[in-house]
């Protein structure tokens, strides 16, 4: 075999130049002939009965082609994992921003003007803003058929937690709160929908699950699955938010009503108030350790805020209950999660999927225990670290695991030992570890593999079809590298095709850090299939055996005699001609060794591979303002074998930036049921100036289940960031942060309190 040449090398994104020079057509750039523009009228109240909607004046406005409300929908309840959605509010609105009506008009100005002409009579109802309030007896009900506002419950238990905690040398018992944050992608959610004469809809939508999204959409519109086709344009980021949304359905419904293409994109304001922000969680933890710092047991109680309907919050809460248990060698764990409805914006996936929240809590508790024991927090992590070739408390099969190496590298790079030893006032250093999955069988239930199609044309051009979703993270480049490597051709011979559900394989999409492993394995299998088919033609041309044929740099040769070679393109031409025009088509799939967890015990391996990481933050605290400046940051991540180191480093730096933003400033504030800061003036995200240097380090154990040994990075990049920073704040000030974000005002007050208690 020729040695690996393209996998493992840093390449700029294959579509990077197009994007950087403004040539890429993003989802919101799409214009179809005759296209109408839609706008949605959203509820101004968190909870109200709809008494009457009068759309007559809006309909009469010149340029308006359709005005729709719930009455114009099939009235079918649906949802990604629930049946609590309707396309527009039925008898009542359940959050500020709930869809009430929509207009399609010849241009956006007219559509917006028409919204002002719709008259809605509401009867305001009492509402609940917080999940803690929502769960109290007598709280107003968000959905009448969900008593107590309980949207879902989750329980998991292994070992004997009570005994373990009772027999511990030290126990940390603490309550944490993680707030609501917004994904802040560059391009708001939206789509263009087009309907043909047979009623078949094509939806051009930037979204993370182009195949899966069709299922609830078809149901909502009373269509069969084959009547909904999704085409995936380039789009401006997702970070978990861009899955099912009524924003798309509004465009689809209006396209049906008007018979014309309809474009509907959220304004930024609408995207804030009716997007899919992070699930806020109240998490109580009890974590015990023995004298040596070995963890004895862990109990957590999680209360998560679903908002007014379930997107994926209940699975996110479940994830917060137990995924982090595969970071260390836990034996006794128990968790209970409740997902509660409130009259606030529905919440959902955001990079980390509950494991961010849980990691913040566990890694804060680990820090607390290390301090109680007078032990180096890094040493305590290493001592408890799960190892390679092990099985976690929930039956997860860990193959490769570079967690210890991550801690060792990160501590070395940051000068951890020296800095810990030399305490400087108001300066601190903090460490946090993380684990994650590369695909989550508990989420993708039917199967959780990946598939690919590789077409080699008469001209030798290679087209790769997949069903996942590149939102800017670099998936296309990774797939091109895998195909080029497997086929033995230069990278720029490969095109990675737009996902079109009429052509592409069914893919579960981009979430759960699964793209590289699942989709990559699918592309790998298809590339191998295409290679064998083409190699057979080359073998015939060279009068050799297919097993002896290799391809390198676009030339086929028989092993051992590279000087007598055949041009790949010549072989492709020959192959197509002898098949009367039929291109070489490779197909293939990956069947991961995962199982659906047992519904009762939750035992079962949910992912083929598990990435790990360790991040270390250094901070400086300004004693007059309470402002925290992160001065330095190192991030060592076990990513399996790196396919594109440059892209991985970008993912790590992006994850840290997002985590830093969350820790220090990002916060959706709800006041009287309304998002009070639905704009980038008061929803703060860090600028380049707020970022410290972030030094990534790739730890690369070979992962037997990964394509070329690779695992994922998307979510682990952010998982440990929050607690790395808050542990550093503790080191600098003695203040233990239990609530995100860390506002300077709050920190200052806590520092004052500490001062008082020392003096007093």
């Amino acid at each position: 075999m020729p040695k690996i040449q393209i996998v493992g090398r840093s390449y700029p994104q294959i579509d990077g130049m197009e994007k950087a020079t403004g040539r890429t057509r993003f989802a919101s750039d799409i214009k179809l002939a005759g296209m109408l523009h839609a706008r949605v009228l959203r509820s101004p109240y968190p909870h109200a009965r709809i008494l009457n909607i009068d759309t007559s004046r809006a309909k009469a406005l010149p340029g308006v082609k359709a005005v729709v409300t719930y009455a114009d929908t099939p009235g079918i309840k649906f949802g990604p994992r629930s049946d609590d959605w309707t396309i527009f509010a039925d008898d009542k609105v359940r959050f500020c921003g709930d869809e009430v009506a929509a207009v399609a008009a010849v241009d956006e100005d007219t559509a917006e003007e028409a919204l002002e002409l719709i008259r809605v009579e509401y009867e305001e109802l009492p509402f609940v803003e917080s999940p803690l309030e929502a769960l109290k007896p007598g709280a107003p009900l968000v959905h009448e058929d969900h008593p107590g506002n309980v949207a879902a419950e989750f329980k998991v238990e292994a070992g004997d937690v009570d005994r373990a905690l009772a027999n511990s040398h030290v126990v940390c018992e603490e309550s944490f709160y993680t707030n609501q944050t917004y994904q802040a992608y560059l391009e708001p959610m939206g789509a263009v929908a087009d309907v043909d004469l047979a009623g078949r809809i094509t939806l051009y939508a930037g979204n993370q699950i182009p195949s899966m999204i069709r299922v609830p959409y078809a149901k909502a519109l009373g269509l069969t699955l084959d009547q909904v086709r999704v085409v995936l344009p380039d789009y401006g980021g997702g970070f978990g938010a861009k899955m099912e949304t009524n924003t798309h359905l509004v465009a689809m419904l209006l396209a049906q009503k008007t018979g014309r293409p309809v474009r509907h994109f959220n304004t930024r304001h609408d995207d804030f108030i009716a997007g899919n922000p992070r699930v806020p969680m109240y998490i109580d933890i009890k974590l015990g350790a023995d004298k040596e710092g070995v963890i004895t047991g862990k109990e957590v109680k999680v209360i998560g805020d679903a908002g007014a309907r379930i997107v994926y919050s209940q699975i996110i809460v479940a994830t917060a209950c137990y995924r982090v248990d595969s970071l260390y060698r836990f034996k006794n764990v128990r968790a209970k999660g409740i997902t509660a409805y409130t009259n606030t914006v529905p919440t959902s996936c955001f990079r980390g999927f509950g494991n961010t929240q849980a990691t913040f809590v566990l890694e804060s508790a680990m820090d607390i225990l290390a301090h109680k024991l007078g032990m180096d927090p890094a040493e305590m992590r290493v001592k408890n670290s799960i190892g390679p070739d092990s099985v976690s408390v929930h039956g997860w099969k860990i193959n490769s695991c570079g967690l210890k190496e991550c801690v060792e590298e990160a501590t070395k790079m940051s000068g951890w030992a020296e800095k810990k030893a030399k305490k400087r006032p108001l300066k601190g250093i903090g460490l946090s570890c993380c684990n994650h999955v590369s695909g989550n069988r508990a989420f993708a239930r039917e199967f959780d593999g990946g598939a690919g199609i590789v077409r080699i044309g008469r001209d030798g051009r290679i087209s790769v079809y997949h069903g996942e979703s590149d939102m800017g993270q670099g998936q296309k480049t990774v797939y091109a590298q895998i195909a080029a490597e497997t086929l033995g051709v230069p990278l720029d011979w490969v095109s990675v095709m737009q996902v079109d559900t009429d052509i592409s394989p069914w893919g579960f999409g981009s979430f759960a850090t699964r793209g590289t492993l699942m989709g990559g394995n699918g592309v790998l299998a298809a590339s191998k299939d295409a290679f064998i088919k083409l190699a057979q033609v080359a073998a015939d041309m060279m009068e050799s055996n297919v097993d002896d044929v290799v391809c390198e740099g676009g030339r086929f040769y028989v092993k051992g005699s590279p000087d007598k070679s055949l041009d790949f393109k010549e072989v492709a031409l020959n192959a197509t001609d002898s098949n009367h025009g039929s291109p070489v088509m490779g197909t293939g799939f990956y069947d991961p060794p995962t199982v659906l967890p047992d519904p009762k015990t939750k035992q079962g391996n949910i992912s083929p591979a598990y990435p790990f990481g360790c991040q270390i933050a250094e901070v400086e605290v300004d004693p007059t303002t309470g402002k925290v400046t992160v001065t330095n940051f190192v991030a060592a991540h076990d990513v399996g074998r790196a396919i594109n180191p440059m892209a991985l480093e970008g993912q790590i730096q992006g994850g840290v930036a997002q985590g830093l933003g969350w820790t220090l400033m990002e916060n959706m504030v709800t006041n009287k049921g309304k998002v009070a800061n639905a704009n980038f003036l008061d929803y703060l995200i860090p600028t380049a100036l707020d970022m410290p240097p972030v030094e990534p380090k790739l730890i690369e154990p070979y992962e037997p289940n990964g394509p070329y040994g690779a695992k994922g990075i998307g979510e682990p990049a952010i998982n440990p960031t929050m607690s790395a920073i808050t542990n550093a704040i503790y080191d600098a000030t003695g203040v233990r942060i239990t609530e995100l974000p860390v506002s300077p005002e709050k920190l200052l007050a806590e520092m004052e309190k500490l001062k008082g208690s020392h003096e007093g």
């Binding site: 304001h269 303002t625 009070a676 703060l684 860090p686 300077p744 200052l748």
Partner: protein, 294 residues
């Protein structure tokens, strides 16, 4: 968010501009950099029938530092002001303040006239200009009128300008003795944030270089309009720098006493006061020390 249709004119000179603006009365708006106005129009906070752009009136962007009166055209952008070498020498406090406004992109189009006319209580140019005793030269169809900045603001987002009256330029008197100034701004991140508290401290020595002839304290985001703290100033005037340095803590309390900030999503009133006090101490310390070292 869409902008409602409106009539647009680009005035070719000052006279035409004020003529057009006064014809439409309160329904017309002048447009400078547009970084406040366009946003307000998108949010339907203002719905002008007519917008008169000033961008063609190039003399309104001039900065003249030759005489004793430093003249800054209302259309000068924050970038131009921040990078102006002579201003950096004579009134560095102003350059510091405007260099903290928004982002590069905002500073490249936003103007100082727009910053004052928009009359945000937190406007970053206002506190230092108040401390520099700036005067505004305004123009309307009935002629020019000089307005001291100290009497220009009438409330949050409100000024005493009447329809058809615009700011032509800003005049600052060149400091006579040795002077120094410092502006400190409380932000929630390092760029692109409005000030939650802005403290401007400007001091000037007498010709002998011994006593503080003038002390001025400007405060932004601490009251319904940008304000001065005259009582606090009076506590320092006439003192030597060494004497003044010792009085900083008590003056700082007088500074805070002059304020009446609000609680909002950006910061609580108590926190604004706490930081304003600390910022005043820091700014005064730096300024007085540099004048001592001089």
């Amino acid at each position: 968010m869409r902008i409602k249709p409106f009539e647009y004119h680009a005035a070719s000179d000052l006279r035409e501009a004020v003529q057009m603006l006064s014809e439409e009365g309160a329904d017309a708006r002048a447009l400078a950099g547009g970084t406040d106005l366009v946003l307000a129009m998108k949010h339907k906070a203002v719905l002008p029938k007519k917008v008169v752009s000033l961008h063609r009136i190039t003399e309104m962007a001039a900065i003249n530092t030759e005489g004793d009166e430093i003249k800054i055209g209302a259309l000068a952008t924050h970038s131009e002001l921040a990078a102006h070498l002579e201003l950096q020498k004579v009134v560095p406090i102003l350059c510091q303040a405007v260099s903290l406004i928004g982002s590069w992109q905002i500073r490249n189009s936003a103007t100082i006239g727009g910053n004052l006319a928009h009359a945000s209580p937190a406007a970053d140019s206002a506190a230092p200009l108040l401390a520099l005793d700036a005067t505004l030269v305004t123009t309307s169809p009935s002629g020019d009128e000089n307005i001291p900045l100290a009497s220009f603001f009438s409330g949050p987002g409100a000024t005493i300008l009447h329809p058809g009256q615009i700011i032509k330029e800003i005049i600052i008197l060149r400091p006579q003795g040795r002077s120094s100034g410092r502006y400190l701004k409380l932000m929630r991140k390092r760029a692109v944030d409005l000030s939650q508290a802005g403290v401007a401290f400007q001091a000037e020595l007498d010709p002998a270089g011994e006593k503080l002839a003038k002390v001025a304290i400007g405060l932004g985001g601490m009251a319904p309009t940008p304000i001065r703290a005259p009582e606090a100033e009076g506590m320092l005037e006439g003192l030597s720098c060494a004497e003044a340095l010792k009085k900083i803590p008590s003056v700082a309390r007088a500074v805070v006493a002059a304020t009446s900030p609000i609680d909002d999503i950006r910061a609580s009133a108590a926190y604004r006061k706490l930081v304003a006090e600390a910022f005043f101490k820091q700014a005064a310390q730096e300024v007085l020390t540099s004048l001592t070292a001089g």
